[in-house]
Amino acid sequence: MQALRSKARELLATKTVQVIIGYARGGGGRARAVFVREAAKADALVFDDSCQQNLAVYLSKPEVRKLGKAALVATPAALRAILQLAAENQIAEGELLALAVGADDVVPLTTFAAIEAHVAARDGDWSAAEKEELHKYEAMGLEERRRFWEEQFSRCLKCYACRAACPLCYCTRCTVECNQPQWIPVPAHDLGNLEWNVMRAMHLAGRCVDCGDCGRACPVNIPLHLLNRRLIREVFTVFGSRSGRSAKGDNALSTFKPNDPEDFIQ
């Protein structure tokens, strides 16, 4: 934590960046995002297990962008989000630097190539518990799965916290806001909730960086990450690719290639 604070002080004092997007102590044992703009305030920064929010979500917020060049305190998921945002042309090389915080050091990553190398060197698989959870879900029959999601989505309030918390949900006009025609029913009834959540999962297929913030943000605890993980597994099985590993655009589901093996697309 001291290494992080002194690096933050240095970056601000030398005007290398204008803002450190990091974590500070929040309420109820939680950590919260903080936007440090003065070296003297760098001591507000913390980093521990409570720092889970994917701060890359703020890279597309207009008020945050206006603060200037940022150094982003990055969890592994935030690093993946940065790469995916770069791959989708949402951020450009040199616009920010990432601070990867280790046990007692902090590694500034100033280029996308450096972030790619950092991510590749530490890329891991899901934990045993996470695999078990996904396995249990996949073991359900189709009918059982339908009932499972019907029950889960029956609680959905359509507050869109999942969308707001997602670093890859940066569309300035989401499909649910296109109302001529209304593609997705607005009401939080069974059909509206099913269409919203399935549409969102499909839009993130091959793009989701698996930070889990959608599920963490949900005020009614819908395990949305299960949908995303199922699709991550599917995309990896079919296309051999995982999002958030490269800053070069090659999304499995939204890249057209003239030599695509499927003839329906040609």
Binding site: R32, C159, Y160, A161, T172, G192
Partner: protein, 340 residues
Amino acid sequence: MNSMEKDTRLIGREALAKLFAQWLGEGRRILAPRRNGDKVDFAEVETPGEVSLDPVQTGQSPKGALFPRVEELFSFPSRDGRVELRERDLAALKPTVVFGLRPCDAAALAALAAIFNWDSADALFSARLAALTTVGVACNRCDEYCFCTSLGGGPGATTGSDILLTDMGGGEYLAEVISEKGRQAIQGAGTLFQPALGKDKESRLARVEKAFDLDKVKPALEALFDDEAFWVEQSLRCLGCGACAYVCPTCACFDIQDENGRRLRCWDSCGFGLFTLHTSGHNPRPLQSQRWRQRLMHKFAYMPERQSVLGCVGCGRCSRACPVDMNILEHLRAVAEAKP
């Protein structure tokens, strides 16, 4: 008993179960905090055993009993080019007891009613309210997000409750019968109660410290309205979701949607980018900082001015639910202490 005297009695847990049975027998449904996994929220129950009063607050407010997240206002089926207008059958709304709501939630009913019955009475809301009886439970615990006392409420406040229970320990509740609806809800159940014998709830109540001076908030908000830097600073980490509005017991903004010949009223939130977006494409509040300002202004300046009631009761749900730890109490303190 002198009719002016407070009607205070005692009721035990077993007698409470009989009271639940009486309400069900009278055709009422009972909504109460019920555990579902990690969350406790208002749901239909039949016995006190299903009720969970452990958490300081439920995740969601009980406002859905009066203002469901989706409700049909009327329908207009068409056949052979003719449109028929079908009103809702208000008499068919089931009489409801909301049991176990906290004094802050009970106080919130006045704020909801002030909005829905502001210029003209909302028929559906009013019918639901008329069919609603509130049996509150005083708070014997609070947490860092509670601030009812800063807004004139309190952990044992009776406003909005038809009956208020206070857990006196040992399976015994002090029951204060507040209103005519409360009296009706225990009609014929006199034998279930014992005399209160001078028992007092005060020692059982949570201590909720005053956190700011409410008198300073409205003038400060008005003075800060154009202070863009203040609002940007206050809302930098806000992501613009509707979680705060949707768990709020007083947020009453709604959106109207027509769907298959039905006109639906759906919850809406001032946090959304589409909220008040004009047909021309102009948005009076294009930035999140302006939407956050609107949230505070509406609750603490516009509603007191127009409806003579605060749009907040200090339940703290928005702060607990916020995915990025926006804490309304901190923001109100910042407003009250700001030097514009």
